[in-house]
């Protein structure tokens, strides 16, 4: 049994996998006062030079067992290719370490279930890197929905687009076996995590996907139905020009009005005033949101999610997005894939 640590204690962190996300999390961990970067691991031995050049002043290992035998850690960030999350999580969970896994939780639903099972019976703190939940505008929308400002919600439309894939692709990221999927798994999963946070788990899903540039899907569309009668649509593509960064759009229709959420703003329309929001239009811009992040690297949300994980390790509490939520996100994704393959709607209770 691990107890909440004294606030003066720093969480000793290892970052496993030094690709783009590993470098980002390494830098962010360095800026969290309650964390101490203690070890770095990657199978590519040449990255030892990077670690030295980057002035990180922590030991680098290309041998995981050696790292565990030489360095005492409290927590790790898993930042390697998606298919490495499960084996690395097994090794870390066996040593009682708290684990942040970059999204998606795993490359397949089966692997995600195994990941989630690793945490049961253990008191480890586990988080998944879905950062939309840490955006100020998304948190404001969550509060509006949770407080019932809109009344009963009956419909939503959600989309996420990015301009990334416009020609034939190769490499692990475009291999179904290794990456587990394409735009639905790697891009829409961010938005699905938000939908899960807002509306809970769907009852059934009907999905279609299209693969044009590689063996994984470049786009996907899904109709989601919920127990209370709520219906929603989800659309994703990574092959649309004009989206330098991933861009979300969520429109919610409800008894008392509507809510539209994007990367830039939140527009609320109310038939009747509620919880301090006036009748008719309220328009909040990202630039109007209070500055809550202590550090900005890679964009809004990254520092917050890392800080939330470290604070959770200290306080022995559940982070905002744990593996439980990560697994539910992958359950929806699995349902979309199964539906796309069969041409039939899939009940979520059958995705086990």
């Amino acid at each position: 049994m691990r107890f909440p640590l004294e606030k003066s204690k720093k969480i000793r962190v290892g970052v496993l996998g030094l690709g783009k996300m590993g470098i980002l999390h390494t830098a962010l961990v360095n800026m969290i006062p309650e964390a101490r970067l203690s070890a770095l691991y990657d199978i590519d031995k040449k990255l030892a030079q990077y670690v030295e050049d980057a002035g990180l002043n922590v030991p680098f290992y290309a041998d995981l067992d050696k790292m565990f035998s030489e360095v005492e850690l409290d927590a790790v960030f898993l930042c390697g290719p998606t298919y490495t999350n499960l084996p690395l999580a097994r090794a870390c969970a066996a040593r009682g370490l708290d684990i942040f896994a970059e999204k998606p939780l795993a490359h397949s639903f089966g692997a995600a279930k195994e990941m989630a099972a690793l945490s049961s019976g253990r008191k480890l703190v586990h988080a998944t890197g879905y950062l939309l939940s840490h955006w100020c505008l998304c948190k404001t929308a969550k509060k509006i929905l949770a407080e019932g400002v809109l009344g009963k919600v009956f419909r939503y439309r959600a989309s996420i687009y990015i301009s990334e894939v416009f020609s034939r692709k190769k490499g692990w990221f475009y291999s179904r076996e290794k990456s587990g999927g394409g735009a639905v798994l790697h891009i829409a999963s961010h938005l699905i995590s938000l939908l899960y946070l807002y509306f809970g788990q769907a009852r059934s899903v009907f999905g279609r996907t299209q693969s044009v540039f590689s063996e994984v899907e470049d786009s996907g569309t899904a109709l989601l139905e919920y127990a209370g009668g709520l219906q929603g649509t989800l659309d994703v593509s990574w092959s649309i020009p004009g989206y330098r960064l991933a861009y979300i759009n969520l429109t919610v229709e409800a008894e008392n009005g509507s809510l539209e959420l994007t990367n830039d703003d939140l527009r609320l329309y109310l038939q009747k005033p509620a919880k301090g929001y006036p009748k008719e239009w309220t328009h909040l811009y990202r630039a109007d949101m209070p500055s809550v992040s202590g550090f900005d690297l890679g964009g809004e949300g990254f520092y917050e999610e890392d800080k939330d994980f470290i604070d959770s390790c200290l306080d022995r509490r559940k982070p905002v997005v744990s593996w439980s939520e990560g697994l539910e996100v992958q359950r929806i994704i699995e349902a979309i894939y199964r539906s796309a393959a069969s041409g039939q709607a899939v009940a979520l209770k059958e995705v086990v």
Partner: protein, 293 residues
Amino acid sequence: MVTLDRLILGSNAFEGVSYTSRSQSLHYLEHFGNPDNVVAVLAAAHSLGVKTFALSNTENVMAALEKFDRSKELTLLPVIPNVYEYARDASEKGVLGSVLEKAKRINMYQKIRLGLRALGKIKSVLSKDVFDLLVELIDFELAAFRPYKIGAVLLHGQVTDLALSSHNKGLLDLFFNLMRDEHGLEPMLATHNFGTLVPQLMEWGIKVPVMAPLNKRGFMMKPNPEACLKLVEEAGYPVIAKKVLAGGRLTPEEGFGFVADKKIISAVVGIGSVPEAYHSLSVGKQALKFTSA
């Protein structure tokens, strides 16, 4: 230390960056995808005496510089390396691969203009370490600006902030030495973490101009607006204010009015149209008491 104009034209809008809406961003991308429309804004700014231009090495902006018949009268402040372009491809090709990919996209005419030196260096990046790679990137991108007058060079905020978070003074020293000794140019730093960067620079004994968000709404002022404003007033660092209009949430009158009495050397502002250029830059000139030569 180089003397900068009080008012500087930025290139965010030319690159499709908007903080207000998707439709605005798309409009910028489409509109400024045509270099002639970038030229129109450059010409409007030039006619108002705003002749300093902070920019990244993006295709449409570089094409506009070639087309603009008075571009040799501009003072450029290149922001390098163009991190977003590399980062976009980094998952698939790795950081090195994305650099090579960019090099491949340059046509023969541009290759000749850039000169063989830069190209020769690009071929060598695969065998280099991180410091050398940064040197290659900077050399490669700087080559594109060589035909023009370069006032100073800004290290991209993502690289500055990566060095900051890694406590890596060596990386900044490398940039400073490269600029001063090899290129004879003044180095400056861009950042999104002014309130954390400046105390660290003071500790390291580094004093260079810093470009950072500064606005009435506190937009992107990290770790908080109060800390940033205190440092602007008390630290004695030459500050170039950016995000002055808080991503489009402040009018030019409000935005420039706020920064005018702060201890800044310059303010940079992105412009989305010719009418906006005349209005915003005129307001900026008046507020900042900028009288162009």
